[in-house]
C-alpha cells in the first residue's frame, strides 16, 4: 500500500533521466558562469576603486549589473533546483505574489537610510566631518597590499 501522503498528489512528476540530467547540467553550468561573471565584476569594481579618481557612476552601474545577475541566479535555483517552475500556477502565485512585498520593502528602507544620512549631514556637522572620508583618500587606497595583520 502506498503511504497516504503519496496519494494526496494527483500527478507525479516523472522526468526521464536524459532530460533531467541535461537540465541539471545546463543549470549548473549557467549558475557557475553567472558566478564567475559576478566575481569578475567584483574585481573590476576593486580595480576602479584603486584608480586615481574612481568613477562612481561606473561603479554603481557595475553594482546594478551584479544585482541583476544575482536575481537571475535566484530564478534558476528556485525554478529548476526547487522545481517551482514545474508546480501548478496557483501554487506558484501563493509564493511569488507575497514576495512582491520586497519591492516596497527594499525601496522604502533604502530611501529611509539615505534620507537619515542627508538629515544628519545637514543638522549634525560633527557627524559629517568625522565620518566623511577626506578628499583624495580614495586614491590613497591604491596601496592596497596586504593590510597588516596576523594570519
Amino acid at each position: 500500500m502506498q503511504h497516504p501522503a503519496f496519494e494526496e498528489v494527483s500527478f507525479h512528476h516523472h522526468t526521464d533521466d536524459d532530460t533531467f540530467y541535461k537540465k541539471v547540467k545546463k543549470t549548473t553550468i549557467l549558475l557557475s558562469i553567472i558566478t564567475v561573471i559576478e566575481l569578475a565584476i567584483g574585481l573590476i569594481i576593486y580595480n576602479i576603486h584603486k584608480g586615481e579618481s574612481p568613477n562612481e557612476l561606473l561603479v554603481l552601474m557595475f553594482k546594478g549589473m551584479v544585482c541583476i545577475l544575482t536575481l537571475a541566479k535566484a530564478y534558476y535555483i528556485v525554478s529548476v533546483f526547487m522545481h517551482l517552475g514545474d508546480e501548478i500556477r496557483n501554487m506558484v502565485m501563493t509564493i511569488v505574489v507575497p514576495l512582491l512585498l520586497f519591492i516596497w520593502f527594499i525601496t522604502a528602507f533604502i530611501w529611509d537610510g539615505n534620507s537619515y544620512r542627508n538629515l544628519r549631514n545637514n543638522y549634525d556637522k560633527h557627524f559629517q566631518e568625522t565620518t566623511t572620508p577626506a578628499k583624495g583618500h580614495g586614491h590613497q587606497d591604491k596601496h592596497q597590499d596586504p593590510p597588516a595583520g596576523k594570519q
Binding site: Q2, H3, A5, E7, E8, V9, S10, F11, F20, V24, T28, S32, T35, E38, I41, G42, I45, Y46, K63, V66, C67, T70, K73, A74, I77, V78, F81, M82, E87, I88, N90, M91, I95, L99, F102, F105, I106, F109, I110, D112, G113, N114, Y116, R117, R120, F127, Q128, T131, T132, P133, Q140, D141, H143, D145, P146, P147, A148, G149, K150, Q151
Partner: protein, 290 residues
Amino acid sequence: MATTAQVHQTKWWSGGKSPFNLEYGKLMMWYFLMSDAFTFGAFLISYGTIRFSQNFWPDPNVVFNAFPGAGHANLPLAFVSVMTFILIISSVTMVLAVHAGHKNDKAGVVKWLGWTIVGGAAFLGCQAWEWHHLITGEHAVLVDGQIDLIGQTMRANPWGSLVPHESVAAALQKTPHETLVALAHQSNHALSHEQLAAMTDQQLVNTINIDALHVRSKGPVAFGGYFYGITGFHGFHVFSGVVINIVMLKMTQNNVFQNRGHYLMIEKAGLYWHFVDLVWVFVFLCFYLI
C-alpha cells in the same frame, strides 16, 4: 469520498487530493521558506538601510582578502568564491539525491545525500576559518591619537579610511610600548619578540615601515554586528540543514523510506537545502560584491 478518507485515516484537504498537487508537508515547507525569506530579507534590508545612512562604508575587497595558507597575500574575493562554489555544488548533489528518490533508488539517495552533507560541512569549516581570521587578525588603527591593534569584532571595526602618513608618524610617538613591539614584529621578522621588547620606543618607531602599516581610522561599528549576525544566521541554517540531511541519510539507510514506498521526505529536506543556497546568493551579493 468519506469512505476513501476513512480507509487511510486521513485528515487532509477534504477531497483527499491536494488542489496544488503537492502533499501537505511540502506545501508547508514552501510557506515556511517564504516566511524565512522575509526574515533574511528584513535582516539584509536593515543592513542596507544602515549602510545608506553612513558616509563611509568599508570596501569588501579590503576586508575579505585572505585565503587559508596564503599568509598575507592580497586575494580579494578568492576565498568567498570557493565557499560559493561549494554551496552551488552541494545544491546540485541534493538535486541528484532527490532525483534518485523519485526512482526509489536507495543507493543513489545515500550516495548523493552523503556528498551534500560533505559540502555543507566544508562550507561550515570555511565560515569558521573566515570568522576566526576576522576576529583574531589585528589591524593598526588610529584611536585617540595613538595606534591601536584591533580585530573585526561586534564592538570595533578596523576598516575606516586610510590615515595620512604625517598623522601616523605623530601617532606612533604616543603609542604604548607593547603595541610598538607588535607593530615592529610585523615588519621585522629578523628580530625575536624579546629582542624587540628590549628596544626603546624611539628605536622601535625607527624599525617600523609606515608605508607597509596601512593605518586606518575606525570604521562603522554596525559592520561587525550585521556581518556576524547575518552570516551567522545563514551559517546556522547551513548547520541545521546538515543535521536534517544526516537524519535523512540515517532514515534512508534504515529503509524507512523504502518501506514507506516513497522518498517525499528527501524532497522537503532538498527544498530546505536549496533555500540555504538561495540565501547565500544574496548574502554573497550584499556583503562581498557590492
